[in-house]
């Protein structure tokens, strides 16, 4: 019965004060949920990743050797205690063409028994030319199954085929690899240093002689979380054991490599010698060829000369022949003439013969005539004697006259008459003439004699001369005969001669004909010779061309070959050097702590853990305090009942039982709900948020972390119950009678402020009242201030976190990087820049440009090494237009100085560097260059070391090779697509990146943390709400009488509320002030713990965040106070004032 009554009372109590019960439950739930939830996130994350690694049977350890590992090494490792399995593998870096850009690929062999891949599509590679591709890259680059990927090596003198059997792989499958949990694919010593994607190939695809890595699994620690010390301790033990055999194995390997190296060098030397020999041979051959060619040229020249001679000779011969011909023709002509002459001569001879004969006969005739004449004359002269006498004369004259008359008469005259007449004609006229002349008319005889003689004399003379003439003619004829004889002789001679000549001519013609024939033959020969020469010449020219080509080729190739040989020599020398320098190999025994993304994830879980250390504690504290106040109030309210029960004789335990039970059940229920909700929801949200960053995290385990949960539950329950017990205990000390009297209300007290009379006097009445009240309920004051402060602090951290994150984007991309576009090109080609610069200047929208060198190096200081970007602008005077180097706090601008570098703020912090310190820059992991830090510049993403080109030259002894041009453009976001295309069309440009696009990318990335921010905002709101509601509720109940009195006095509802609100406003204000301080420091703590190495969060909370936090806190306060307004209005004056409690 008793028990029943008490149980009934208990349940009625709960039902009657359900608000209170629920508020305790809620606040406990919230506290526990937050505590268990946020704290569970870390173990859940670790568990999830561990599960994932176990599922993939990821290696627990791996051994890297500076000289590679042999199967024997692997076998030895496998034999080590604790090592379940060991397997050799290959890893290599190669380059591939990724849309015109050289991207680094991490090529790895697929392990047989471990490091399982998570296949998303396709199948695992089976053949040496098949590969499994990074899903992320597949998606980003739009590669499909069946596509091929071609690899090439970084160095020109290195062949990818030295490492791999083939350079082209067919993509047969894709997916993720637990090695890479996030988007980061690590770094590589080649290309731009950033691994773009990984590619898994069968081990057969590698042509390396030794494994590059040996993976190990240790099944003994499968049950342990890899981040935990149990795991680490075990692995440390195995590591020690592996390291123990390392020395021996290394010595073996060293000897082997030395031997192999020596062999190889010998081979290489032989090869070089062969190569040189070959080169020499080629040279010799060429020079032989040259000599031959020269001979040939000589020959051709000779041949040409010969042909020229031949031609000339031929021409001469022809001319001669022609001359001969002409001569011959002349000969013939002459012959013909001669013949004609001969003919003529014959004619003449004939004539002459005739003449001679005629002459002879004429002469004979003439002689006869002359004889006759002489006889006649003698007759005549004899007759003429007769005339010598005058008679004789007279007679003769007479006769003559007669005859003449006869003749005249035409009488025929006989011969004697005629002779007489002839005679008379001849002499008489002459005598008459001579006598007449002499004038002698009667010539004397004598005289007659003379005249007759005179007349006869001419005849005589004529006969005489006739005779002499005849004699002369005889002589002439004789001479003619002789001449004729001569002519005849001559003729015969001529005839003979002609015949002879004709023969000669005929012979000459024959000779000429022969000559022509010969000439034709010679011509044919010459033509043949010419043809042959032409052929020969052509052949020669071909040969020459061939030779020239060969020479050119030789020149070209020999240079190359020589270069190759030199290089090979260098290489051999280097190899020799290397071999000589070769240190005994070292083993690096690495565990999962060497898996970058795994470690990063671990660090992220630590960050969440750090948040888990702070935030839930605040919630929990507030929750505990709230339930404490609530329970205390409840016990106080139950004072009368306690007294009554006590008076009735109930034991303290029985009485306290009700309150303890109330507190226990409320807090227990709240805790259980909180555990259920918190353990599942919060880690889910947090893991999902991180899942955005760690997109390969496929496992999400959200078990209830019983240790944490039970701890939270125990603390929550213990706090509440203990608070209740303490409150009860205070009441129990009083006697029942005292309990049944109303508790003396807390005394009014002057507050400290009143001592400042001048201030107090100036305050209005309500202000005074407010201040009194504020400090009157100290517990409530602190609780409220703490609650609001926590809310404000959380909001501030939440908004501050958003600020810090968005500031990375805002400040990095607008304040630090003031350029708009980066254009990259091949920096290997030093001639590319001018052309590209010119083209860029012509591109629409480009306002200003700056060439820069950006390259990944390592920077070291105080034993800490960080990956940084070395940034060298071509010119420094307009650098400020592109990248602003300034102090984050003061905004002071820095210029690059000749004597040192400007480094970025986060780097300075990580390396603990101040201005004036020295930073050591490492290039190629060997060359250490210390340099002074002249300034530390604001920067949020990645680390940068800025230096002038002059300093670069000084430090590295070479001109910086610029591979990028930064642009400032007039283009807005819409125009960037077109601009990008235009830029990419420029010859040599391999990539274009817009700052705005980067901005979007990073903003996307940061969205994951945004979720955490919202969780915090909502939690803060809930916290504020529950705390304020609860406390206000208590406050109203506590002050019901006072408020009723005010109402009786005629305070309007609004005035009553104002009376309360004034206090709340003050409480809220104080809480906000406290919250601002809490938030400020908490924000600092959180960003320092959340921040990853590569990123510097914005360090400050923006003013607007304060405004928002204050506004939201006020909003929550106002909402709670508005709800309270109805409660206030419901206060019944009559009822409140009637009873005295």
């Amino acid at each position: 019965m008793k028990r029943n009554a008490r149980i009934k009372d208990f349940f009625r109590e709960i039902r009657g004060s359900l608000n209170r019960y629920l508020s305790i439950m809620c606040i406990v739930m919230l506290g526990v949920a937050f505590y268990a939830g946020v704290r569970s996130a870390q173990p859940d994350m670790k568990l999830s990743v561990d599960k994932m690694y176990d599922d993939a049977n990821m290696m627990d350890m791996r051994v890297l050797s500076t000289l590679g590992l042999t199967q024997e090494d692997v076998d030895f490792i496998a034999g080590i205690e604790g090592v379940t399995k060991a397997e050799g593998g290959y890893t290599a870096y190669a380059l591939t063409d990724d849309n015109g850009r050289h991207s680094v690929v991490s090529v790895q062999s697929i392990a047989r028994d471990m490091n399982r891949l998570d296949l998303h599509s396709g199948r695992l590679p089976e053949k040496a030319d098949e590969c499994f591709l990074d899903q992320r890259y597949m998606d980003e680059a739009g590669i499909a199954l069946g596509d091929t990927i071609s690899l090439y090596s970084d160095q020109e003198d290195e062949d990818i085929l030295d490492t791999l059997r083939t350079s082209t792989f067919t993509v047969v499958g894709s997916g993720s690899y637990a090695w890479y949990l996030n988007f980061d694919r690590g770094t590589a010593p080649i290309g731009n240093g950033d691994v773009r994607f990984f590619m898994m190939v069968p081990p057969e695809a590698f042509s390396l002689s030794a494994y590059t890595v040996a993976y190990m699994t240790c099944d003994a620690v499968d049950g342990e979380i890899a981040y935990d010390s149990a795991y680490k301790d075990y692995i440390a033990g195995v590591t020690d054991r592996v390291e123990a055999i390392a020395g021996e194995r290394c010595a073996v390997r060293f000897a082997q490599v030395k031997r192999e190296g020596a062999d190889k060098i010998a081979d290489a030397r032989q090869e070089i010698a062969d190569g040189e020999q070959e080169l020499d041979d080629a040279k010799q051959e060429l020079s032989d060829a040259k000599i031959k060619l020269q001979d040939a040229a000589q020959e051709i020249a000779d041949g040409e000369a010969e042909i020229a001679d031949g031609e000339r000779e031929l021409a001469d011969a022809k001319a001669e022949v022609r001359r001969h011909e002409k001569e011959l023709a002349d000969g013939w002509a002459a012959l013909a003439d001669a013949k004609a002459q001969l003919e003529e001569a014959a004619q003449k001879i004939e004539e002459a013969e005739v003449e001679v004969v005629g002459g002879g006969s004429a002469i004979s005739n003439n002689r006869a005539a002359l004889g006759e004449k002489a006889s006649q004359f003698n007759a005549f002269a004899a007759q003429a004697e007769a005339l010598k006498t005058a008679e004789g004369y007279q007679n003769a004259q007479g006769n003559y006259e007669q005859l003449k008359a006869a003749q005249g008469a035409g009488l025929p005259l006989d011969e004697t008459q005629q002779a007489a007449l002839g005679f008379y004609d001849q002499i008489l006229p002459q005598m008459d003439g001579a006598l007449q002349q002499a004038g002698i008319a009667n010539p004397s005889d004598e005289m007659l004699g003379q005249v007759v003689d005179g007349a006869l004399q001419p005849t005589r003379d004529a006969i005489e001369s006739g005779y002499s003439q005849l004699h002369a003619a005889d002589k002439e004829v004789e001479r003619g005969r002789e001449a004729l004889e001569e002519a005849k002789r001559e003729y015969a001679e001529g005839e003979r001669e002609i015949a002879q000549n004709e023969q000669k001519l005929r012979d000459g013609q024959a000779e000429i004909d022969k000559a022509w024939r010969e000439i034709r033959i010679a011509e044919a020969d010459l033509a043949q010779g010419k043809r042959e020469l032409a052929d020969g010449k052509k052949e020669y020219e071909d040969a020459l061309k061939e030779y020239d080509e060969a020479q050119a080729e030789f020149d070209e190739k020999s240079a190359d070959a020589q270069a190759d040989i030199d290089q090979a020599k260098d290489k051999v020398a280097k190899a020799q050097q290397e071999l000589d320098d070769l240190k005994e190999p070292e083993w690096y025994v690495l565990d999962r702590e060497s898996i970058q993304s795994f470690v990063e994830y671990g660090l992220d879980t630590d960050r969440i853990g750090a948040i888990g250390q702070v935030f839930p504690a605040i919630f929990f504290l507030v929750a505990a305090l709230v339930s404490l106040t609530t329970m205390t109030r409840m016990v106080e309210e139950g004072r009368l009942q306690i007294g009554t029960m006590k008076a009735l004789g109930y034991t303290q335990t029985a009485i306290a039982g009700k309150y303890l039970g109330y507190a226990l059940s409320a807090s227990l229920a709240g805790s259980v709900l909180g555990i259920a909700l918190g353990s599942k929801l919060l880690p889910y949200v947090i893991l999902s948020a991180y899942g955005i960053l760690y997109d390969n995290m496929t496992v999400m385990l959200l078990p209830i972390q019983w240790d944490l949960s039970l701890f939270a539950l125990l603390i929550a329950v213990a706090c509440t119950v203990a608070a209740t017990y303490v409150a009860c205990y205070a009441e129990f000390r009083a006697t029942p009678a005292a309990l049944m009297r109303p508790a003396a209300p807390p005394q009014g007290k002057r507050v400290l402020l009143e001592r400042a009379t001048f201030l107090w006097k100036r305050m209005t009445f309500s202000q005074k009242a407010t201040f009194r009240n504020l400090f009157r309920y100290k517990k409530r004051f602190f609780m409220t201030v703490l609650g609001i402060g926590a809310c404000m602090g959380l909001l501030l951290v939440a908004f501050g976190l958003r600020n810090s994150i968005s500031e990375i984007v805002d400040k990095q991309y607008t304040a630090v990087w003031t350029y708009d576009t980066g254009v990259s090109f091949d920096d290997e080609d030093p001639d590319a820049l001018p052309g590209i610069r010119e083209d860029l200047q012509k591109t629409q929208g480009v306002r200003e440009l700056l060439a820069v060198k950006q390259t990944g190096i390592e920077a070291k200081a105080g034993g800490v090494t960080k990956q940084v970007n070395l940034f060298v602008p071509e010119v420094t005077d307009n650098l400020d237009d592109f990248v602003r180097l300034r102090d984050r706090r003061t905004g002071e601008r820095y210029a690059l100085e000749a004597e040192g570098v400007v480094i970025t703020e986060k780097l300075a912090r990580l390396l603990s560097l101040a201005v004036g310190d020295e930073i050591v820059l490492l290039r190629d992991e060997v060359q250490e260059t210390p340099v002074k830090v002249t300034a530390i510049a604001e920067n949020y993403l990645h680390h940068y070391v800025y230096m002038t080109p002059a300093l670069y030259q000084l430090l590295y002894g070479e001109e910086p090779s610029y591979g990028m041009v930064l642009l400032r453009t007039d283009t807005d976001r819409e125009g960037e697509g077109a601009m990008g295309e235009a830029l990419l069309r420029i010859d040599g440009v391999t990539g274009v990146s817009f700052v705005s696009a980067l901005e979007d990318q990073v903003a996307d990335m940061m969205r994951s943390l945004d979720m955490v921010v919202w969780v915090l905002v909502i939690s803060a709101g809930l916290l504020a709400f529950i705390v304020l509601y609860n406390l206000n509720n208590i406050s109203i109940i506590e002050r019901r009488r006072e408020l009723a009195t005010l109402k009786v006095l005629g305070f309007y509802d609004g005035e009553v509320a104002a009376y309360v609100y004034r206090e709340n406003v003050w409480l809220t204000c104080i809480g906000i002030a406290l919250g601002a301080v809490i938030g400020f420091f908490l924000h600092k703590f959180v960003i320092r713990t959340c921040e990853v190495d590569m990123i510097m969060f914005g360090q400050s909370i923006r003013f607007m965040s304060y405004v928002w936090s204050v506004a939201l806190t006020f909003l929550f306060a106002i909402v709670v106070n508005l709800l309270m307004f109805f409660k206030l209005r419901k206060i019944d004056m009559v009822e409140s004032l009637k009873s005295v409690e």
Partner: protein, 234 residues
């Protein structure tokens, strides 16, 4: 012209499940301006109910309550509040002082909302507490607290001063002193004072005695010759 205060058939019923309790059952009486009226009756007779209705702290279920020509029964919550604030001064058995305010401040609290208040210090002096003005209620004796309470009510310069068992928690002498203060106030200021008491011995000092029993007004007597408090013994 009707009386300063007139109650006409004022009823107040509470419904407790099936039962209907008549806390006041058609109570009617009048009080003239400047009168010292005593409502007399045993515990639970409904005196406080009537006073609460008269003071605007409660609304009657029926009837009319005329105060200075206004029907208070018809007032809405806001008018009622205004009525309380401007026209009514309340004095409670347990003083109901604000613990966190000094005596003077408690008086001032009431003055905050008044149209034409009296000077708080002056009123406190009138009730004889000028020396304790700066003290918190916890430091004051019951009588002193009640004086503060009265001063708080008076300072508002109300039309009606309603006192619910003002001496209930006080010893005899103090009680008398308080009653004297009330009577003096009534006389001195011409204030209409209504005092609830179960102590019939006090009745002779009133101008009008209203007897209430079982929620009903039994009798209203007008005392033509009220006695001074000093002469009353109980």
């Amino acid at each position: 012209m009707p009386a300063f205060v007139t109650l006409e058939d004022v009823s107040k019923t509470y419904r407790m499940g099936e039962m209907v309790i008549h806390a006041a059952d058609k109570v009617s009486f009048e009080i003239e301006k400047g009168e010292f009226a005593v409502i007399l009756g045993p515990s639970g007779a409904g005196k406080t109910t009537v006073l609460n209705i008269l003071g605007g702290m409660d609304r009657p279920s029926g009837g009319r309550v005329w105060v200075d020509g206004q029907d208070v029964a018809q007032f809405g919550p806001r008018r009622l509040t205004q009525y309380r604030r401007d026209d009514i001064g309340f004095v409670f058995q347990f003083y109901n002082l604000v613990q966190n305010l000094t005596a003077l401040e408690n008086v001032e609290l009431a003055l905050q909302i008044c149209k034409n208040p009296l000077d708080a210090g002056e009123v406190l002096r009138e009730v004889g507490l000028e020396q304790r003005a700066g003290n918190f209620p916890a430091r004051l004796s019951g009588g002193e607290q009640q004086r503060v309470s009265i001063a708080r009510a008076l300072a508002k310069n109300p039309k009606l001063l309603l006192c619910d068992e003002p001496t209930g928690a006080l010893d005899y002498q103090t009680g008398k002193a308080i009653l004297k203060l009330l009577q003096d106030t009534c006389r001195g200021r011409g204030m209409t004072v209504v005092v609830i008491t179960h102590n019939s011995a006090i009745a002779p000092m009133a101008d009008r005695i209203i007897e209430i029993k079982n929620g009903k007004c039994q009798r209203v007597r007008v005392n033509a010759q009220p006695l001074p408090v000093e002469s009353i013994e109980w």
